[in-house]
C-alpha cells in the first residue's frame, strides 16, 4: 500500500521535525527556555505542522483529482463507434478500469511481468481468459481499443503515483526545512500553532455543511438524471408502481406515499395517546419511586435497534394478527391474507415511537412552571382538571412539535417497513393489506443488480429526495410551531 507508506513517511518526517525545531529554538536561546517567545514544544509543533499539513493536503487533493483527470484523458481515447447500442461511455470506461485493475492484479500475482502487461495485444492473447485466471471475471471479450485504453490508464496512473510521491515528499521536506530555519527565540511559534489549530477546528465544524451538501448534491444530480429518463409529472401523479427492469415500468410515487402516510398514521395513533398519557402520569401523578423505575424502562424501547422491531413485526406481531384477523382466525373475519400488512408495521412502529413521544412531552410538561399548577389547584380544580385545562394548553405548542417530529421519524423509518409492511404498492384503505413505503422501495430498488443508469435504479434517488424534503419540511415546521407559539414564562 504505497499511499499508506507515504502517509507514514510524512508523519515520521513531522516527528523528526518536532525534535529538530524544538532543539534549534532552544539552542538559539542558549538552552534557557525562559528566553523563548513560546514554550519549546510549540516550536516543535510548528515544525511538525509545517512538515505534515501541506504535504497531506496535497496528497488528499491529488488522490481526489488524479482519477478524474485520468478518466478524462483516457475516455477521450475511446472512439465513438465502439460504444454499442444501449451502452454508454461510462459503461465502457468501467470496462477499461476493470481491465486495468485486472492487469495490476496479474502483475502483482506474478502471472506476467510489468513489460508484458504493457505490450499485450488483444489480437494476440485472450485477455479475458488471462484475467479470469487471476480472479478478475470480465463480462465480454476485450476489444483492442479497450485494452489500449486500459494500458494507457495504467501508464498514466503509475506516472501520476510517482509524481505524487515525489511532490509530497519534497513538500514535506521543504516545509520541515522552512520551519526549522524559522525556529528562533524571537519567532512567535505559539501564535502560529494556535492559529493553525483553530483552522483545524473550523475545518472539522464545516463537515456538517459538507455532509448536507453531499446529501443534497447526490440526491439532486441523480434525481435530475432520473427525470431526464422518466417524466417528472408521471412520477408525482402516477397511480401505479410497477418497475420492470426490462423497460416500460410505471413509477408513480402516490401508492408509496399513501402506504407511508397510512403506516405513519397508525403508528401515531398508537404512540401519541400512550406516550402522552404516560408522560402526564409520570410527571404529574407518579411517585418519584415509580418514576425512577418506569421512565428508564420505557426508554429501553428507544435504545433498541430498529432491526429488532423489524424482526418483531415480521415474526411475532404479523403471525399474531393473522391468528386474530386472518382466515380461520379467532375472530373469523378473514381480513388479513399474510403477516405483512400496514397494521403490522404501524403497530410496531407505534411501539417504537412511544418513548420518543413520551420523553419529549415529559420535558415540555416539566417546563410548565409550578406556579401555574399551584394557582389552578388553589382555585379548587382537581389534578386532572389542572392537567387538562392548564398544563396541556400551556405545553401544547411543544407537544405538537413533538408529534410532528415523531411523524417525521415514522416517515423515515426503514427497517420495520422493509420487514413488516410487505412489498406490493397498493392504494387501498384496508389496513390489513400489505402495502409498501417510500423507504422500503428505496432499499429494494438499490439493492438489486440493476445498473445505476436505468430509471428503475435512479428512481430511488428521486424517492430519497422526496423523503428528504418531506422530513426536512416536517422538522422545520415543528421548530417553527414551537418557536412561534411557545409561551414565555418568567
Amino acid at each position: 500500500m504505497p499511499v499508506l507508506w507515504l502517509f507514514l513517511i510524512v508523519i515520521a518526517l513531522g516527528a523528526i521535525g518536532y525534535f529538530l525545531g524544538r532543539q534549534r529554538a532552544l539552542a538559539s536561546a542558549g538552552g534557557e527556555s525562559r528566553h523563548l517567545h513560546s514554550l519549546p514544544s510549540y516550536y516543535g509543533a510548528n515544525a511538525f505542522l509545517w512538515a505534515v499539513a501541506p504535504a497531506l493536503l496535497l496528497l488528499a487533493a491529488w488522490l481526489l483529482i488524479q482519477p478524474l483527470v485520468i478518466e478524462n484523458r483516457v475516455s477521450g481515447m475511446i472512439p465513438e463507434e465502439i460504444i454499442e447500442e444501449g451502452s454508454s461511455r461510462s459503461l465502457v470506461m468501467s470496462d477499461v478500469r476493470r481491465v486495468a485493475e485486472g492487469l495490476d492484479i496479474a502483475v502483482e500475482q506474478g502471472a506476467m511481468t510489468a513489460e508484458e502487461a504493457n505490450s499485450l495485444r488483444a489480437e494476440a492473447t485472450d485477455i479475458r481468459e488471462l484475467l479470469g485466471g487471476v480472479g478478475v471475471a470480465l463480462g465480454a471479450e476485450v476489444r483492442p481499443e479497450v485494452l489500449n485504453a486500459a494500458q494507457r490508464y495504467r501508464a498514466l496512473s503509475s506516472t501520476g503515483r510517482w509524481l505524487m510521491s515525489g511532490l509530497v515528499l519534497v513538500l514535506a521536506l521543504g516545509g520541515l526545512g522552512l520551519a526549522w530555519a524559522r525556529s528562533d527565540k524571537a519567532f512567535r511559534a505559539r501564535n502560529v500553532v494556535e492559529a493553525s489549530i483553530k483552522g483545524l477546528l473550523v475545518l472539522a465544524s464545516t463537515i456538517a455543511i459538507l455532509t448536507t451538501l453531499g446529501i443534497v448534491l447526490s440526491l439532486i444530480f441523480n434525481t435530475v438524471e432520473f427525470f431526464r429518463l422518466y417524466p417528472a409529472l408521471d412520477f408525482f401523479t402516477g397511480l401505479t408502481w410497477s418497475p420492470s427492469f426490462g423497460g416500460g415500468s410505471q413509477l408513480g410515487i402516490l401508492p408509496l406515499l399513501w402506504g407511508t402516510l397510512y403506516i405513519s398514521l397508525i403508528a401515531l395513533l398508537v404512540a401519541v395517546p400512550v406516550g402522552l398519557l404516560a408522560a402526564v402520569y409520570l410527571s404529574e401523578y407518579a411517585s418519584s419511586h415509580t418514576r425512577a423505575i418506569a421512565k428508564p424502562m420505557l426508554e429501553v424501547l428507544a435504545g433498541i435497534p430498529t432491526i429488532v422491531y423489524g424482526l418483531f413485526a415480521l415474526l411475532t406481531v404479523g403471525p399474531l394478527l393473522v391468528n386474530a384477523f386472518g382466515q380461520e382466525g379467532l375472530l373469523g373475519v378473514a381480513w388479513m391474507k399474510g403477516g405483512t400488512a400496514v397494521m403490522t408495521a404501524g403497530l410496531v412502529m407505534g411501539v417504537m415511537l412511544i418513548p420518543f413521544v413520551s420523553s419529549l412531552s415529559d420535558d415540555i410538561i416539566n417546563a410548565v412552571p409550578q406556579a401555574m399548577r399551584d394557582g389552578s389547584l388553589g382555585l379548587g380544580a382537581t389534578q386532572s382538571e389542572t392537567v387538562k385545562q392548564v398544563v396541556l394548553p400551556a405545553a401544547l405548542p411543544g407537544i405538537v412539535g413533538a408529534i410532528l417530529l415523531a411523524a417525521s421519524r415514522a416517515i423515515g423509518e426503514t427497517m420495520i417497513v422493509v420487514l413488516g409492511a410487505g412489498a406490493a404498492a397498493k392504494l387501498s384503505l384496508n389496513p390489513f393489506e400489505a402495502m409498501t413505503t417510500v423507504t422500503a422501495k428505496i432499499v429494494s430498488q438499490l439493492t438489486g443488480d440493476a445498473d445505476f443508469a436505468s430509471p428503475e435504479a435512479l428512481v430511488a434517488f428521486a424517492l430519497g429526495m422526496t423523503l428528504f424534503v418531506i422530513t426536512l419540511g416536517l422538522n422545520i415546521f415543528a421548530l417553527y410551531i414551537v418557536r412561534k407559539y411557545r409561551e414565555q414564562y418568567e
Partner: protein
C-alpha cells in the same frame, strides 16, 4: 379552569343552594372525583401498555433467541476407509485431495449404520444413504478437512462430532414437528424416530453452540452451520472507523462552536445543519454513502470502511450535541482563572475545559456508538447485505477493505431467508447485539455516575 367557574350549568346547582352537609359529597363533586380517578387510571394504563411492550419484546427475544445458542451434534466413530480415500495407497496429499466430499459421505453413512446396529437402535434404513438427512451437509466437509490436515489417520477409526441437520435440530428444540414435515422432501417421520432413539442412546446431544458466536455465515441450505463471528468482526472494524473519525471531528467541531465561534451567519449555518442532520432519516445517509463513497470515490462495496464512514456522518450530530452540552456545563470561572494566570484561549480550552468535560464527552460518544452499532438501513444500500460473510478477514487492512457484513445486517439477512431455522439464528443474533448495546450503555451510565461533576 375558567369555564369551570363560569359554567355552573354543566355541573348542576352549586352545593350551597342544596343545603346539604359538607361531609356528604354532592353529585357534581362525585363526578369530578370520578373523572379524576378515571384520568389517573388512563395514565396508569398508558404506562402499563408501554411497560408491557418492553416486557413482551424482551420476552419474545429471549424465548426465541436462546434456541439459537443450542445446537445438536452427533457423535459417530467413522472408519476412514483407505480403499475409498486413497486408492493408490501412497498417502500422497494430491491423491487424497482428489476425493471430493461425495467420497466421504458414504463413509459417514456406513458409520451411522454400524453404530446403530451396535447399539441396537430400531428404525434403521435399508439404504445407508438415507441417514444423510440426519446430518448437516457440512459433515462430509468436516471429515474431509480433518483427513487433509493429517493424511496419516486414513485407515483408522476416528470419533467425530458432527452437526445434525437443521430439521433434526429443530425437532429436538420443538420447532419442527411431525405434522410440519409431512410434505418436507428432506426428512421423514422415520428420521425423527431415529433421532429420538439416538438421543436416548446418547449418540445425539444438544450442547451450547459456541460456533454460533464465533462462526461464519453459511449458505442458505445450511442454517445449522451459520454463525455471527465474521459479522461481529465487520461491526468491530466499522466501530473502529466511527470512533477514530467521529470522536476527534466531533470534539473539534464542538470546541469551535462552543468556545471560539463568533456569532455570524457562517456559525448559524453550521448550527442549522447539525440540528437538521440529526433528524435526517438514516436511509438518506445510505444514499449519500452509495452516491459519494461508492459511485464517486470508487471505494470498495460492502467494505466496513465505507460502512464506518457512513455511520460516522450519522453519529457526528449526536456526538457534537452531547459534547457541546458537556463543554457548556464547565463553569466560566475555570476559563477565567486559566486566562487570568496567563494562559492563551487555546490553552485554557485544551488544558482545563476539555479534561473537565471529558466524562460527558465520552458518555455521549459511547451512546452515539451504540446507535451506530444497531443501525441497519444505510448498510443495506452500500451492499453489506446479500453477501455471505463466510471468511474471516486475514489482517487489519483486509478487515477494513474486504467485503464483510455487520451484526444488524447479518440479522436482516437471516430474517429474509426462507428456512425458519434461520429465524432462530436471527433472534439469537439479536441477543448478542443487545448484549453489546447493553454493555455500552452500562459503561456510559457508570462513567456518568462516577465522573460527572456538579458545579
Amino acid at each position: 379552569m375558567t369555564d369551570l367557574s363560569a359554567n355552573p350549568a354543566g355541573g348542576g346547582a352549586p352545593a350551597a343552594k342544596t343545603g346539604g352537609s359538607l361531609y356528604a359529597s354532592d353529585a357534581r363533586t362525585r363526578r369530578r372525583n370520578a373523572a379524576e380517578k378515571r384520568f389517573r387510571i388512563y395514565g396508569m394504563i398508558a404506562v402499563g401498555i408501554g411497560l408491557a411492550f418492553v416486557v413482551a419484546l424482551l420476552g419474545v427475544i429471549l424465548v426465541n433467541g436462546t434456541r439459537g445458542f443450542q445446537q445438536t451434534y452427533l457423535t459417530v466413530p467413522v472408519y476412514l476407509d483407505p480403499a475409498k480415500l486413497d486408492k493408490k495407497g501412497e498417502r500422497k496429499l494430491e491423491d487424497i485431495k482428489k476425493v471430493s466430499t461425495f467420497g466421504y459421505s458414504p463413509l459417514i453413512d456406513n458409520a451411522i449404520q454400524k453404530i446403530l446396529a451396535d447399539r441396537g437402535i430400531d428404525g434403521t434404513f435399508e439404504k445407508p444413504k438415507e441417514y444423510r438427512a440426519l446430518l448437516s451437509a457440512s459433515a462430509a466437509a468436516q471429515v474431509r478437512d480433518y483427513v487433509l490436515a493429517d493424511p496419516r489417520v486414513i485407515g483408522e477409526t476416528v470419533e467425530f462430532r458432527l452437526l445434525a441437520s437443521s430439521r433434526v435440530d429443530g425437532y429436538l428444540k420443538g420447532r419442527v414437528t411431525r405434522e410440519s414435515i409431512a410434505r418436507d422432501k428432506n426428512i421423514s417421520a422415520a428420521h425423527l424416530d431415529l433421532a429420538d432413539g439416538m438421543l436416548a442412546a446418547g449418540l445425539m446431544k444438544k450442547t451450547f453452540n459456541w460456533a454460533f458466536i464465533t462462526g461464519a455465515d453459511a449458505s442458505e441450505s445450511r442454517p445449522e452451520q451459520a454463525g455471527m463471528g465474521v459479522s461481529m468482526l465487520g461491526s468491530l472494524f466499522m466501530m473502529l472507523v466511527v470512533l477514530g473519525l467521529s470522536l476527534p471531528i466531533g470534539v473539534a467541531a464542538s470546541i469551535y462552536l462552543e468556545e471560539f465561534a463568533p456569532k455570524n451567519r457562517f456559525t448559524d449555518l453550521i448550527e442549522v445543519n447539525i440540528s437538521n442532520l440529526a433528524a435526517v432519516p438514516s436511509i438518506v445517509f445510505g444514499i449519500l454513502g452509495l452516491a459519494v463513497f461508492i459511485q464517486f470515490a470508487h471505494l470498495p462495496q460492502s467494505a466496513p470502511l465505507v460502512g464506518g464512514l457512513v455511520l460516522t456522518l450519522m453519529t457526528l450530530p449526536t456526538i457534537i450535541i452531547s459534547t457541546r452540552a458537556a463543554l457548556k456545563a464547565v463553569p466560566p470561572s475555570i476559563r477565567d482563572a486559566a486566562l487570568g494566570v496567563g494562559a492563551s484561549k487555546m490553552q485554557s480550552v485544551f488544558h482545563h475545559v476539555l479534561p473537565l468535560a471529558m466524562p460527558g464527552i465520552l458518555t455521549g460518544t459511547i451512546i452515539g456508538l451504540a446507535q451506530a452499532l444497531g443501525e441497519t438501513a444505510p448498510l443495506l444500500l452500500i451492499g453489506m447485505v446479500g453477501y455471505i460473510a463466510s471468511n474471516y478477514p486475514d489482517g487489519i487492512a483486509s478487515g477494513f477493505l474486504d467485503p464483510n457484513s455487520a451484526m444488524p445486517a447479518q440479522i436482516y439477512e437471516w430474517a429474509k431467508r426462507a428456512d425458519p431455522a434461520y429465524y432462530e439464528r436471527a433472534w439469537g443474533g439479536i441477543i448478542i447485539l443487545l448484549l453489546f448495546l447493553m454493555t455500552m450503555n452500562i459503561i456510559a451510565i457508570i462513567l456518568r455516575r462516577r465522573f460527572e461533576r456538579r458545579w
